[in-house]
């Protein structure tokens, strides 16, 4: 099946001569129809620029964007059959909600009756029918968010773009709206690209995630891929909270590894004598008094559902997840047992994942 959105070799440079900044360095992403793709990364990684290029609000320096098979570079944004939800919602302040939702249809000269029907339909879907006569300034943050989505939905576009739409909401509202967006996507099935810096949003909403840093695509995969088989140490520490523990090891003769002198029986794909970084998520380490890897408890963080214990070892601080009823105290000597099956190995110098 042809992809709905095909990003091919997109590069974007700003500035001239010596002051050229390469914001996007050759991005290739395929999005299947109906997929919910997340672009996630820290500020400045280029995700918003990429979104703007897809939308047609900016042009790439190189590369093509194929929508439904045709290259849309050079096609004005309004003609790409795309709708976008902005971080600040960008609702038209002097128009009421109904006119906001119907504006794009008005621009396309859709007859009034048809427009009204569509507005009512969308308002019902988003439960904002009672707000149709109000102005944006009279709405709460969550209501504005819905109107912004309504405006995008009314277009019945081929592609939905979201530019950090939940960043301006408080935590509780964010969780509600996240579920709302997921529900709407399941109902409408429209291909979507969603930009965020929040890794929880990325994990919960996406069917596939593209992790970006400094204009380079770090990894493109399902949430499971990204979480359990991160492509490099950056992805490993970006996704997951608390972050994955990274520990320096050296491969010994016979297949075992040494962690700063302590020998552990863990198979490592690197060559004998080489250094490798071992990645372990807090839930894949157990407190076991008999384990050879020892440390001293430094901080205990109960969150209610779990307790995170930060253990100070010769290899650095290691965070371990334990069940909430386990009693541990700062200063206690503990042992750390590792689940080999879930270990990730990375090249010590490049940070790239080592194939098992």
């Amino acid at each position: 099946m042809a992809s709905a959105l095909d990003i091919r070799g997109v590069r974007k440079c700003f500035g001239k001569g010596e002051h050229t900044v390469e914001v996007l360095k050759k991005i290739d992403i395929d999005v299947a129809p109906g997929e919910f793709l997340i672009l996630v990364g820290p500020s400045g990684c280029g995700k918003s620029t990429l979104l703007n290029i897809i939308a047609g609000l900016e042009d790439p320096t190189e590369g093509a964007i194929h929508l439904g098979g045709r290259n849309v570079i050079g096609v004005p944004p309004a003609q790409r059959d795309i709708a976008m939800v902005f971080q600040s919602y960008a609702l038209y302040p002097t128009m009421n909600v109904a006119d906001n939702i119907g504006f794009a249809l008005e621009m396309r000269k859709v007859p009034k009756a048809e427009r009204q029907r569509r507005i009512q339909e969308v308002a019902a879907m988003l439960q904002i029918t009672h707000l149709l006569d109000r102005r944006p300034s009279q709405l709460s943050g969550g209501q504005r968010q819905r109107v912004a989505m309504g405006r995008a939905l009314a277009r019945e576009p081929q592609l939905f773009l979201f530019d950090e739409p939940l960043s301006n909401l408080d935590a509780k509202l964010r969780v509600e709206m996240r579920a709302e967006i997921k529900r709407l996507h399941q109902a409408s099935g429209i291909t979507s690209v969603y930009v965020t810096h929040d890794q929880i949003e990325a994990m919960t909403l996406g069917s596939r995630i593209a992790v970006m840093k400094d204009g380079v695509l770090q990894q493109l995969g399902t949430p499971d891929d990204i979480y359990n088989r991160p492509a490099n140490t950056y992805v490993a520490t970006f996704i997951g909270s608390p972050t994955m523990n990274l520990v320096d090891t050296q491969v010994l003769e016979g297949g075992a590894v040494a962690l700063a002198g302590i020998e552990l029986d863990l198979p490592c794909p690197a060559a004998t004598g080489a250094h490798a970084t071992l990645g372990l998520r807090p839930e894949h380490i157990r407190l076991d008094g008999s384990a050879p890897w020892k440390g001293e408890v430094s901080v205990v963080e109960p969150t209610g559902a779990d307790t995170y214990v930060v253990v100070s070892t010769v290899s650095g601080d290691v965070t371990v997840r334990v069940a909430p009823q386990v009693r541990v105290h700062p200063g206690e000597r503990v042992g750390l047992a590792v689940e080999a099956a879930h270990a990730s190995w990375f090249d010590a110098r490049s940070g790239q994942r080592l194939a098992a």
Binding site: A78, S88, A90, Y92, A104
Partner: protein
């Protein structure tokens, strides 16, 4: 709550005293003008600046309006007043609309060189108009509109261009970029964005510009005296002629009445819409 010491109360009284003294300083000339305009010749001779008239005598006002001499003619300020009206209203409307369009382009549709152009235009806010007087009178002559109200309207539109453009451009610079992106995505073009989105948001700045321009244009004297002919002199020129005619007896009551008539429109605008006026002043001076 602790009681405030006596020194505090004394200080407050002193404060109000000084402020009221200031108010008196600013109001005194107005008082003098009104009071003088209501006196007759005897009261002028015998009284002083602050003395009240015996009765509310409006004959000076009548004279100032319709029969005072302003040089060769003796038909009062009335013809000049109407000249100002026919000059000011079109000039204010045109310069404001033009400024809005320019401000819109310069803030939201920037292109290569547009910022430089704006910087160059900005000098026009400060430039002494003496430097354009001679060339302008030549051009007006060529166009056949020298000594006419049309000529004055043209000059005021050109002279007001930098200020009005500045006001709108700074106001529109605060429009969020995402709003424009949303409009572009929705399919709105240059004119639709201006008419459907930007203009409806512009009420405050339109008010400020209209009031500022009206005040500047109505109160102008330099262009009025340099570029007007017998039938097109604005009220400021009329007033100056009236107050400076070397006729037999100086009738200060008529002079004051005439000054008040000339001042009436802009003071009325100030009283009714003062806060926009203040915003215009502070916006104009705090550039950028």
């Amino acid at each position: 709550m602790t009681a405030k010491p006596l020194s505090h109360h004394v200080a407050r009284v002193l404060l109000m005293g000084v402020l009221l003294l200031g108010a008196a300083f600013f109001l005194a000339p107005l008082y003098v003008m009104v009071v003088t305009s209501l006196k007759d010749a005897d009261e002028l001779r015998n009284g002083n600046l602050l003395s009240l008239p015996g009765s509310l005598n409006v004959s000076a006002w009548r004279e100032a309006w319709s029969s005072a001499c302003t040089g060769a003619d003796c038909s009062g300020l009335r013809p000049f007043f109407w000249n100002s009206v026919w000059m000011a209203i079109p000039a204010v409307l045109i310069s404001t609309a033009w400024g809005a369009l320019n401000g819109y382009v310069l803030s939201l549709w920037k292109f290569k060189g547009s910022e430089t152009f704006f910087g160059l235009l900005l000098f026009g806010v400060f430039m002494p108009f003496q430097v354009v007087l001679l060339p302008m009178s030549q051009v007006l002559g060529w166009l056949g509109i020298s000594s006419s109200i049309g000529g004055l309207i043209l000059v005021h539109c050109l002279a007001g261009l930098p200020s009005t453009t500045l006001f709108f451009r700074n106001y529109y610079a605060a429009v969020p970029g995402e709003l424009l992106n949303a409009a572009r995505l929705d399919g709105a073009g240059f004119w639709q964005i201006f008419l459907r989105i930007i203009l409806p948001m512009s009420t405050p700045i339109v008010m400020v510009t209209l009031i500022w321009q009206f005040t500047q244009i109505w109160n102008d004297f330099l262009f009025g005296v340099a570029f007007s002919g017998a039938d097109s002199k604005p009220v400021t020129v009329g007033l100056n002629n009236l107050a400076n005619t070397t006729s037999s007896v100086k009738a200060y009551n008529v002079d004051m009445a005439a000054a008040l008539i000339a001042a009436l429109p802009t003071v009325a605008v100030y009283v009714l819409a003062g806060r926009y006026f203040v915003r215009g002043l502070t916006a104009g001076a705090v550039k950028g």
